[in-house]
Amino acid sequence: MKNFFRNRLDLIKRNFQKGERFEKFAPALNAFDTFLFVPNHTTQKGSHIRDAVDLKRTMVTVIIALMPALIYGIYNTGYQYYTQLGESFTFFDAFFHGSLKIIPMIIVSYIVGLGIEFGFAVYRGHDVNEGYLVTGLLIPMIMPVDIPLWMVAISVAFAVLIAKEAFGGTGMNILNPALTARAFAFFAYPTYMSGNKVWVSEASNIDSISGETILGSLAAGQKVNYSMIDMFIGSIPGSIAETSTFWVIVGGLILILSGVGSWRIIVSGILGGAFMGLLFNLLGLNSLMEFSWINHLIVGGFAFGIVFMATDPVSAAQTNQGKWIYGFLVGVFCIMIRVFNPAYPEGVMLAILLMNVFAPTIDHYVVNANISKRKKRWSKEKLLKLE
């Protein structure tokens, strides 16, 4: 079978070689080719052997880590819908209902995003980077379930064009593209992104269904009727895949054990969030401040954001020391925004975007400390010589 595919591909590839008819579209074909086969390229410069890891493998590992949260998110979509309706249902009913809602969003996200990526690759004549495989899955996962598909499409287009390609493509972006997509939708279509009619499937169409996120209710000064177990397992309304802290932790462990996600950012992020939560608990001036710090860590998108968004290596701090500072501040700002600004009950999106902007500054100071240490050594040595 391997040879069959290989021969077919080699036949097709002839038309895409230099000087042939479809030369310009070679990057698009190469993307498919390298998806099926690791290419036969050998080392020409530098080290003669290379590690088996490549960007495809790294990105696919992230996708694997996202799967538990996504599958639970699909189930939870159906679960929320049927419990609100008061109908009896099986796991498969819930899963089926969720799939009908979410799979189209994922398809739209991939078609639009990859379409733009392929377009840029052909236009600029470079290979298609794998970064969008993760971004394209993340975007539907952090949207409310009832958002119209065309909004998903526009948000994706905005994120890929403005947040990524405008800066030079994968590896060059300053902001996390998936969060940029969400921020765009959040500010452009606020009625579809907040309130009590968007978080549960069909809530905007059926009157008997409604559901506010826990943070939303807290910000509005209402009581929360969910137990801590609900919050941890994730059987609460919210963006599609963010609700289950448990499954996010499973994904986080995959990221940390495979070395793909930075444990430094995850640990320091949790420390930052806990620190700020505790501080507010001590002050305790309003219901949001009184909301227990542990609950702060397990409701909303905090866990999902820290594990899957803050660890995006391109937009996070790049030095190891910088990662500690960056992660800690993401945690601190997330809880701070939640508590101080009830208009934005979900602080993690803005906290991460804010820290994305400051990550290069953090790195700058960390790297400069290394430079000035070296320069100090130079001048000390000079003084010794003069003596």
Binding site: P39, K45, S47, D51, A52, D54, P313, T319, V367, E381
Partner: protein, 455 residues
Amino acid sequence: MNLTKSIRIQKGANIKILGEASKILKKNIVSSSFSIKPTDFFCITPKLFVKEGDKVKMGTPLFYSKENPKIKFVSPVSGTVRFIVRGAKRKILELIIDSDNKDSKIKYDVSFGNNEKIDSQKIKNLLLESGCWPFLKQRPYGILADPEISPKGIFISTIDKSPLGIDYEFILKSDIENFQRGVNVLNQLFYGNIYLGVDSKYPGFFENIKNVKIYDVKGPHPSGDISFHIQRISPINPGEKIWTINPEDVSNIGSFFKTGYFSPKRTIAIAGNVVENPKYYETIIGSELKSFLKDSKVDENVQIRCINGNILNGKTESSKGFIGYFNNLVSIIPEGNEYRMFGWLPFFNNKVLSLNNTSLSWLFNRKGSEVNTNLNGEERALVVTGEMEKFFPMDIYPMQLIKACLAGDIEKMEGLGIYEVIPEDFGLIDFSNTSKIEAQEIIREGIELMIKEVG
């Protein structure tokens, strides 16, 4: 053992590959033609003394360095210059000399008399004239040593932790006397100290060498690389120079000061996962590879790549080619120009060597790996961060330094420590990085820029 310092290195990784050279030394393979490659010396422009057809003796100067005409490069054998290979823009790539199997050599007077005070200038002139000088390399940059200056120290590392690494104790144990003499001569050359690095577990006879400051090193590859020792013991500041030399070349210098004849001895290990009988050979710099490949039974059914040096930072050489000037190891591995279906899937294809946790390579390759030259992916933008630091045991930010080199930002390169590294230190980064960035090449270009702009 009186240690100056103990260096403990945590970061890095040992890469174990099948086909390590067994400790058998074979001496009687003599090759008929030899080659000296000016490209083995970083940043020199060769100017020829000889032309094709000239008869040369062992020790006859072949060419000198345009940058420093005092440095001469000599013929390792007596014979005839058969061919001068030139590349683009008539750049001289290689001088091929056919041996005439005669023993005509140039002799120098190396006697200093009994009570005569040994003059450093005389030693220097002898080293330059005889062709021994190119054994000395200079930091920063890893260029040839400049005879006009005096370094603050000379470093010799007898540790090789690189893949298929060789055992200097084994190849030099019959040469202890020459090694000590070489050390003594180098000691007369300048005012600083000579530092000798030994393995903490297995120092061998090196611990008895006198007139040196001995330090020991423990840790995985790249703990044997001199850059990491220099930074711990005597870091390089602007304007300071340090010289480095291979252990075997120390004994070559020692041999020269005993006999008065240039000594081009080179012990090489032929090793790699397509070599049936990997072992050591005592031979001469620039020997033809052919006969060694045949003797060590390199698999003839596969397409192979011969590498002068280790597989992380050596130079590709054709199987009809020659041994390089500095390397004690010739690695032979198969070419990997084949497709692997869905080879990028994590936790699949675990036989392919990987230091990354997205593979179970550590479990499947316990006894050593079969490697080939496949790139295992395509070059991409730098995405993953923090992976280079894991394999770079120095107080330097490798990724930031690479980016500064790419941008050609000289001030930043200085600040981030370009003086303290040579391209070879980035071998493991080259190997392990996800984006298949050519780190060594980028650093080499950065260093060339520094030499051009700063000097």
